[in-house]
Symmetry: C2
Subunit: 500 residues, 2 copies
């Protein structure tokens, strides 16, 4: 059902009209977080205009800012236009990723909790135009977002001009899911009054000056989250190791019986953990304080176990979205969507004592974790919120299958080729092989645990060989390394296609 | 003037009596933070007992926990006894450092804000005996600490037995400087009500069960902080770069005119920054929310510029201590001493928007910083609070002279041999050569800035050579590396004694 009012009617434009009105050299601040709630109509129209005007010799340059990753209609379309110059703060589009790794698009890989300040303080090029997906807009400038909050509020408030994609894909009852709260960034702040995931401290809309709204485009395109895949045996094995560990922590009194809230990253492993919790009789009344909720949350709901989930995005598959729409009124008591500065805020994360579960690309024998750079140089997606959560959570768990590329890559290496989370902050590493609890262990003990519990048997003796050589030849015996060989696994992979 | 009361009199023991009462296999939780307020009488007596009983074939093992570094009478004496097995969470004693790097003492290098939880949750071996320096003890078990807070409250509350070194080195007016506040660690917490460095939320004493106090030893030994050295030209150059940068940030509206509070690390560079602020007419009403205050604070006081300093330790030289004693009543309005969990708490650090200034051992061309591991393997002191502050501050600045070992080491390298603070969290790098503001820069831009602004001219062309080679040969061009050469500078140093 298309929402309307005289203000909306007065602002309606075609996507082509908006595309034509956009500056050729522009910094765009777009809605969207892990492809939820991003604009899907204006960017492809803009890309089309660029394509045609480039033939006439006109040049374009776009800086694209979002909350986190978006979909093909935004990241893909603008990347393919050839006009994209700078992208922040996270992406996961394969075409764009290739441009970044060829060196033709600049990418700034940021802690998601830092982005608001960098915008407010003018550290990054300032926002010319905000394009956000909304479910409603009022004549006095109240904008109601769709399935993500991300950076939208900040981009709307800082943009010179605003364009809205007014979608009819969601029922009007989506209004009320958001809790928009912005921190002052030019003065001291007071405590953020969130002590539990369900606490509301803001408004369910963003108030802008309505004069800045230069056009509204109607949209019926859904978010493009990928279909939910059943977890494979590695993911299930990892999930089981994690759950046993958490049960053990509860029995030791380190996690209260009513649980600390969970943060879990995106992807199959994170989904498997929630699916396993849903099936496990020892888990109940689950709370989440996280940045993305995916279809796996339905397992918890079906099992009657979801107490509450605070997130910055509801990233559902087509089937998941249908289910969400069917229950949209009732589930307002189950979900809050927050700006990423609040979902990822160190203050709230430390206070709530989150259990943070994120995916590693690789980890080394001492517990340093690489989440971003393949072979030290090629960007995968970005650090996203993993640094915000890892550094300040009660428990920081990193999960990865022990092998990648059919066994040609070991996720456990002598020395990570890039460090996103270091030995001081990584508390637990889990692969399908097992779990290494690194807390309270000096470096050499950590190496023994990681090699014996987490490494794949195919690489275990090779890792032990490195560790023994390092202990023998390293000048310093605190964290022994034999630097000649430290990066040799990565070098071998780059040369031969295998770490073997 | 020796404080006394009937309870104290009833508990008085000689250091030798206490030493004899200590278990042979013991976990000690001691007061002390950056050598301030640590026990100085009992540990040497214990070391003497160990020495003599070892000759009789008896074996000893000690786990030593403190707030941060301590003095020779504690770290040195116990390390020399040969009985030290485990040390947490920070140290700076040269004899102990050697044992750690030989591999004969285990050291767990921890974020200082994590230590309380690791103790409360029994992740580390539990505390048998607490030994703390105090200025007063009451019959009902109120303990008044001396010049540091650190971990003392947690160790006192968790120890089975308590010994006190009651010092007469400080006037009784030291009572009132502390603000002891402990967070619950087995349940949810509420906001910490500190919004400004001077906010008091706790008590000025630690309440223990007086039955646990097994002995009190009188002491007249002062803290052993080293004498204050006048900053050299490199330190002054670094300080001037930092101040110009901060002035520029103020003019851009990124730092409020009444300033955000400063955190500054230990050492000559940090001292030079404060000394330069004292002399610079643009700086006034300085606030600090930090973990250590050193003699350099007197420069601010003399210039009438110190508004307030919150710290976990007052680490003064002999002359500095004399001055502190002369003004001890009056300066209660200038200083608070807090437990390290609060001085280093992410919630308070992010809320106040600290300007964090810490020392790097080395930084690489992309902005990753090594604070702890010489050539990747040998422990210097530890990460201390640098991770707590860097990750959550408003501005994270790393400072280092561009050269070490008479030019044989370049502090700017192609690839750090250990990462304590990564490219996502390091905002500014400064050497005597200049300052690189890395915020909002993609990786290759960061490399250009760091090489041109921070590297010593002696190494600049070599770094550029690496960077050019990496850009040419790296498969991924986002963060180009040529892994064959990445650690070659460190390997060369280990083989030849020089990176040249």
């Amino acid at each position: 059902m298309a929402i309307t009012n005289p203000f909306i009617e007065s602002k309606l434009k075609s996507p082509e009209e908006v595309a034509l009105a956009l500056p050729r050299h522009v910094t765009l601040g777009c809605s969207g977080f892990t492809p939820a709630g991003y604009p899907k109509i204006i960017p492809p129209a803009f890309a089309k205009r660029i394509e045609s005007e480039k033939k006439e010799g006109k040049d374009f340059s776009i800086n694209l800012y979002s909350g986190a990753s978006t979909g093909e209609e935004l990241d893909g379309a603008l990347a393919r236009s050839g006009a994209l110059k700078l992208r922040i703060p996270y992406q996961s589009n394969s075409y764009l990723r290739n441009l970044i790794n060829e060196g033709s698009v600049d990418f700034i890989d940021m802690h998601l909790s830092h982005v608001v300040k960098y915008i407010e303080h003018g550290i990054l090029p300032s926002i010319d135009v905000a394009i956000v997906e909304a479910v409603d807009v009022t004549a006095d400038g109240k904008i109601y977002l769709t399935t993500s909050s991300g950076m939208s509020a900040t981009y709307l408030l800082n943009a010179k001009e605003i364009y809205i994609e007014l979608t009819d894909i969601h029922p009007a009852e989506l209004k009320g899911y958001h809790d928009i709260y912005l921190l002052p960034h030019h003065s001291r702040t007071l405590p953020i009054n969130i002590v539990s995931p369900e606490d509301r401290i803001g408004t369910d809309y963003i108030q802008v000056n309505p004069d800045k709204i230069k056009g509204i485009v109607r949209s019926s395109v859904p978010d493009s989250a990928s279909e939910f895949k059943a977890p494979d045996s590695d993911c299930i094995a990892i999930a089981n190791h994690v759950l046993s560990f958490i049960q053990d922590e509860i029995s030791k009194g380190r996690i209260p019986k009513d649980y600390l809230p969970f943060q879990n990253g995106v992807g199959n492993i994170a989904n498997a953990v929630l699916a396993s919790m849903a099936k496990n009789d020892d888990f109940h009344e689950i709370q989440m304080y996280t940045e993305v909720v995916q279809d796996s949350v339905f397992d918890l709901i079906d099992a009657g176990k979801l107490k509450f989930a605070s997130t910055s995005a509801l990233t559902f598959s087509k089937l998941g979205l249908k289910r969400f729409h069917q229950n949209i009124s009732q589930w307002k008591s189950k979900f809050i969507i927050r700006p990423q500065e609040i979902s990822n805020h160190p203050e709230v994360i430390r206070r709530m004592g989150l259990i943070a579960m994120n995916t590693a690309l690789e980890a080394d024998i001492y517990g340093n974790v690489n989440s971003t750079h393949v072979m030290g140089s090629s960007m995968m997606n970005g650090i996203g919120g993993s640094g915000d959560f890892t550094r300040n959570s009660h428990l920081s768990i990193f999960m990865t299958p022990s092998l990648a590329k059919n066994g040609d890559i070991s996720a456990i290496v002598p020395f990570v080729s890039h460090t996103d989370h270091n030995e001081h902050s990584t508390m637990v590493i889990v692969t399908e092989q097992g779990l290494a609890d690194l807390r309270g262990c000096p470096p050499k003990k950590r190496a023994e645990l990681i090699i014996s519990k987490c490494a794949h048997p195919m690489y275990r003796s090779k890792l032990l060989e490195y560790f023994e050589k390092a202990k023998e030849l390293s000048k310093g015996k605190h964290t022994p390394h034999y630097l000649e060989d430290s990066l040799s696994w990565h070098i071998r992979f780059l040369k031969t296609g295998s770490m073997k």
